[in-house]
Amino acid sequence: MAETLVLIEHDRQHAKRPSLHAITLARQLGGEYALLVLGHGLDEIAASLVSYGACAVLVADHPALAEPLADRYATVIVEAARKQGAKTLLGTSSTFSKDVLPRAAALLDAPMVTDVLAIEETDGSISYRRPINAGSILATIKVEGDRRVLTVRATAFEAPAANAAPCPTERFAFDATSLPSGMEFISREQRKSDRPDLTEARVVVSGGRPLKDKETFERLVGGLADALEGAVGATRAAVDADMAPNDYQIGQTGKIVAPELYIALGISGAIQHLAGIKDSRIIVAINKDPDAPIFQMATYGLVGDLHQIVPQLIELIRRS
């Protein structure tokens, strides 16, 4: 039995680090928590999760779960939550959890709160703080009933320490023949990159509309990112114009990042983009328009043409 069940995401090799941040909320909520991983061939991933202070690591390992199809995954997650008697089902915001967890919430007949930033306790009852309207407003939400599903913003919760005595891993058995079969996995784009993951990187360099085309984007944004061993991000405008792939998009409807250093090249600073970068420690903006809104929140602003400035910057970093 566990009060809280935390869904852990992985890439077949490792648990995804941001997905562990939900454990930090599980600890704040109090009570016992179990971790749940789904997939096929999970021994090593499961073994890597035993020291996070959970009461158990539940492993749903089956060929039928080799690909994260929402109908099957939600069914198994809900069975696990029921067996544990969990009141809270928890995950970290990502396209994976956003696909699967609302479906699980409906099967559990439970409401859901997306993108929790913090919890507040008043008179023994817990409420949840979350951003709405592209992060321009913070709302405090109360949830009724005895069950709920939550996702957390990884950037708002610290990584949990892995220093607890190892807990048991348990195979979670379920009836694979009764799983839904209306969804079929066809393919996934295989793109290899030596750059760090956008949501985990210490440095992120992003480009906007004036980067013009794929080649220029890669040379300038990619070049500066490589000089700083950082990740590459983009605005919606850059992705729409095919300068960068969709998973580079940062913002309200893309990824949320909070690196030590965020460098915005030719980005105006629309509220939808700022929603994804606000919690970065240092923000640098390079823009030729001195009145660009991004300068209102950048730690350091440099007015000028990025086509001249960025090569100089790369050169300067390389030399030092």
Partner: protein
């Protein structure tokens, strides 16, 4: 094939400023992701794959202007479920389920997220309630096997993914699916003659009560504007010295 498109009326995201507060009350528009859903339904009909597009929205009569806009884009008929409460996504999903059971569409196409509450829940919840397959965050849709299945490309954190789903199913849209058309004058004229059906939750035999309530709202702390630097050298010096990030 019958396509059902749920859409929500939201404050115009293009009116928002950096501070988040618009100069005046922003006008309402169709949620941009739902506009993309409507556009996709129109293209499916124009390819001859759909015979009818039904638009549905839950809200008070103030949303009639967005209903007219949807009809003007080319939706065949519209339904407004009259409910002026602050509903949460689960309540919206339960109401939509009742309507979908009545309308029996072959496919439901809707936005991945409403840009006011940013929940990203309703489509997936609806699929769960109906026991239907789902394809979320979709940037391409093709119908297969005599329209019994759809092949959908999804935008995920790790890049594009392709799934095939059996119909009926729920599909939620991402930004790259299409670019919605502008409403034309003849479209607007035609929209005036198209029917808007108004239903209540009672008529749909559904009782829902939102399980989440907003207790309070506040403005997030503002990030202060920092320093202007005049050269690449000065920037590097700041990043090394003051900020200590390099």
């Amino acid at each position: 094939m019958k396509v059902l498109v749920p859409f929500k009326s939201v404050p115009d995201p293009n009116d928002a400023t950096v501070a988040g507060a618009a100069a005046s009350m922003p006008k309402s528009v169709i949620n941009p992701f739902d506009e993309i859903a409507i556009e996709e339904a129109l293209r499916i009909r124009e390819r001859g794959e759909a015979a009818e597009i039904v638009g549905v929205t839950i809200g008070a009569s103030a949303v009639d202007e967005q209903i007219r806009a949807a009809l003007a884009m080319g939706v065949d008929r519209a339904i407004r479920i009259d409910d002026s409460r602050a509903l949460d996504p689960y309540a919206v999903a339960r109401i939509l389920r009742a309507l979908i059971e009545k309308e029996a569409p072959h496919v439901v196409i809707m936005g991945k997220q409403a840009v006011d509450d940013d929940s990203n829940q309703v489509g997936q919840m609806l699929a769960g309630l109906l026991g239907w397959p789902q394809a979320t965050f979709v940037s391409k849709i093709e119908f297969l096997d005599n329209k019994t299945r759809a092949r959908c490309t999804r935008e995920t954190d790790a890049g594009l993914e392709v799934v095939a789903i059996e119909l009926p199913a729920i599909i939620t849209t991402d930004l790259r699916l299409n670019e919605p058309r502008y409403v034309s004058l003849p479209g607007l004229m035609k929209a005036r003659r198209k029917p808007i059906e108004i239903l209540s939750c009672d008529q749909l035999r559904v009782t829902v009560r939102p399980l989440t309530t907003t207790l309070s709202t506040s403005r997030p702390p503002k990030r202060a504007a920092g320093t202007r630097v005049d050269s690449v050298e000065e920037l590097m010096a700041k990043l090394r010295g003051e900020a200590k990030v390099l």
